[in-house]
């Protein structure tokens, strides 16, 4: 294939990977603190509808994105309350949240199906956008894509190079030790779970306000579940997470073009790829563990913490 064919596909990969990227970054934060949120699909849908209706009401897509963040955090607060304060099972609560979000967004949006809005327009970055090939792939999108580049870099720095980032990693690994060192486990888990929910909301908002600029019921089409899988693929690292998202975006872009070109490879095979990659990574993690190298999930992921409970 020549460069003129590949470049647009790569550019499309970035665009199509971005909504998943926001959800993955949020989930990495949440899981690093020890709270698993399997409800991403639902939270994204709530965020998508909030973004759509706020943009429709105010005409300002920035308000729409802000609304999707708030709605995502708000709906995730149920999950945070159940998991952090009540010590509930995070898997059950997360699955309930996913279904709740799907139902809720479908109900709220039933009179808006197919309506369009004026969302965020593409904006080519001066200078950087003029670089051949690179400019077209990375810098000819919209402002939310550029914000996501900054988000990934900021998260890498935050998690691994700052004091609050160190505390975040510690709380997810060993809440008991963190508590003994004077950290407030509950407060931190709330903060990061809500931030994660907010980012998942933005992921949905990106779909309705930027990507398709309309409301479609169930418009996330499984991207929330793919995000959950990609967090494992990333081994809880933002950079690998971003890589995974763009690989998914590439597969997504490729399968659309292949369908259009009428090839014989069935689309589901390509859509299966992110999950197959995740399974491969899980195998990789267990092999490393047998070699004595600790990788993988934060050690307390999914486990509630109560100070006075004896072990």
């Amino acid at each position: 294939m020549s460069v003129d064919i590949i470049t647009p596909i790569l550019a499309a990969a970035i665009r199509s990977g971005t909504p998943v990227l926001y959800a993955v970054m949020g989930e990495i934060l949440s899981e690093r603190s020890g709270v698993m949120n399997l409800g991403l699909e639902g939270v994204m849908l709530i965020g998508a509808f909030a973004g759509f209706s706020a943009t429709q009401a105010t005409g300002d897509p920035a308000v729409g994105i802000a609304a999707s963040f708030l709605a995502g955090a708000l709906v995730t607060s149920i999950h945070a309350f159940l998991c952090v304060t009540m010590g509930a099972n995070q898997v059950v609560s997360g699955l309930a949240l996913a279904m709740f979000g799907e139902g809720m967004s479908a109900m709220l949006g039933r009179n808006h199906i197919g309506q369009t809005i004026a969302g965020i327009k593409p904006f080519r970055v001066p200078l950087l956008g003029d670089i051949p090939i690179i400019g077209q792939i990375f810098f000819s999108h919209d402002v939310m894509v550029y914000a996501s580049y900054i988000l990934v870099a900021a998260l890498c720095f935050f998690i691994f190079r700052t004091r609050p980032g160190l505390n975040l990693r510690a709380v997810g690994e060993n809440p008991r030790a963190s508590d003994a060192m004077g950290l407030s486990v509950a407060r931190m888990r709330y903060a990061y779970t809500l931030a994660g929910g907010g980012l998942a909301g933005v992921a949905g908002g990106y779909l309705s306000v930027v990507y398709s600029q309309m409301w479609v019921e169930g418009m996330t089409a499984g991207r929330g579940w793919i995000a959950v899988a990609l967090v494992i693929f990333s081994i809880w690292h933002p950079l690998r997470g971003a890589l995974g998202c763009y690989m998914f975006g590439g597969v997504d872009a490729l399968q659309m073009r292949m369908q259009a070109a009428g090839t014989s490879v069935p689309a589901p095979i390509l859509l299966m790829m992110p999950y197959a990659m995740t399974l491969a990574v899980l195998v990789f993690i267990s092999i490393r563990k047998r070699q004595g190298i600790l990788l993988g999930a934060p050690a307390s992921l999914g486990r509630p913490f109560r100070r006075e409970e004896r072990e």
Partner: protein, 512 residues
Amino acid sequence: MQTEPSAPLVSMRGVDKIFFGGYANKGIDFDLRRGEIHALIGENGAGKTTLMNILAGIYSPDSGRITVDGREARFRSPRDAIEFGIGMVHQHFMLIPVLAVWENMLLGLRDVGFVLDLRSMVSKIRDMSERYAMPVDPEAYVWALSIGEQQRVEILKMLYRGTNVLILDEPTSVLTPQETRELFAALRKMTDAGHGIVIISHKIDEVMSIADRVTVLRKGERVCSVEARLTAREALAEMMVGRALKRVKKSGGGPPGRAVLSCRGLCARNDRGMASLSGVSFDLREGEILGVAGVAGNAQGELCEVLAGLRALDSGEIILNGQDISGRSAREFIKRGVSYIPVDRRETGLAPNMNLSENIALKRYWRKPAAVWKIFMDWKFISGLTAQLVDAFRIQAPSPGSPARNLSGGNLQKLMLARELSDAPLVILAMHPVWGLDVGAAEFVHERLLEERARGAGIMLVSEDLDELFEMSDRIMVMSGGKIMGIAERPQDVSREEIGMMMAGVPMRAAV
């Protein structure tokens, strides 16, 4: 530098703590002076750790007052206690294995910059570790450190937080005698600098060698506080237990029996897939107790699991009663008379949510007479057997139908012994069989093991308590790094220091 007793560094008055309707601490008074090492002793369950968890802000007391340096202290969280200069090194270290030493030291601190500064932190740790003679590598990952090194990191972590009052919970249980001496020397440096130190322990000898004062707790209440050098060790032991100690008597051993279990060149890996047991060979004879000494984590657990058929061998032979049974299933081992008393009675040993009869049935559910046609359980027979065993082993339980998790630690252990010893085993593998038991229950377990020895069973007793090993064993085998450092054929001729050297990895000099 002793100050007058009227100005203690820490003073606790009338501290109560209630767990599940029972008093864990009842009206306890406790004082710590500047520059002293104060030992807090008592049996398991006496409330030592609970009391210190209250002082460290982890538990909140139900009533009572705490003053630190004359200031009234009300701790709502460990952070409050840290601000009052109180730091605790828990028995299970509060370290995060995937983080480096310097990252663990920084955890939870507020007065460091937003961006982590590796270089300044490393040099600060180097300074401190030199000042207190506690060597650590600041950039190493915690999971790669030995237990002794991890303990040093914990102590330095507390000192770095400006700790004045250092609480150590059973600090020597994971150390060799030599490492213990180094630790004690470092602790003396700290008291010379004016810190107050509390050591929680149940080993009286150790307490006598390091403590200035001793407070004895029993069943959640304070018995007394005394000056260590003015008190006899027997008096302390009596105060701990509440009665004069009866020493378990070992009847003189007959001539050594034939080898009932022979191990040849056993090699196996640990749970993380790394080489652990490396070339272990020994014989276990009929009617003997073979003590196994070693610092925790030197493949004693792997050895037991291999001999119980629970862990795969990489190479080597296990010969039971003349037959090679290596590579067979765990059930095959059970059928041929191997009994295993694992260390974790709530995990490997018993099924806590099942009732007493079901737990008793676990080792015989597939065979007559507990099972009819190998499928149907004969519950009538099993309940009868359970009632019999509950009686014989003096298990205190609400009823045979109540879940095992409602039993106390001592009764759980008796339940496990009842199951493991009831079918006249040839070989008994006992790992820390009296761990966490009060003295009465421990005596019972020891008596039962001696009865089995008299009956002719070969018993392998793994313990970290040298007193227990010297008291019970006919021979003592010492393990270090997955190898046998030596076997003392006559323990009475071997000193603790020699055993300590072997535990630290120095092979036994020829023929002791």
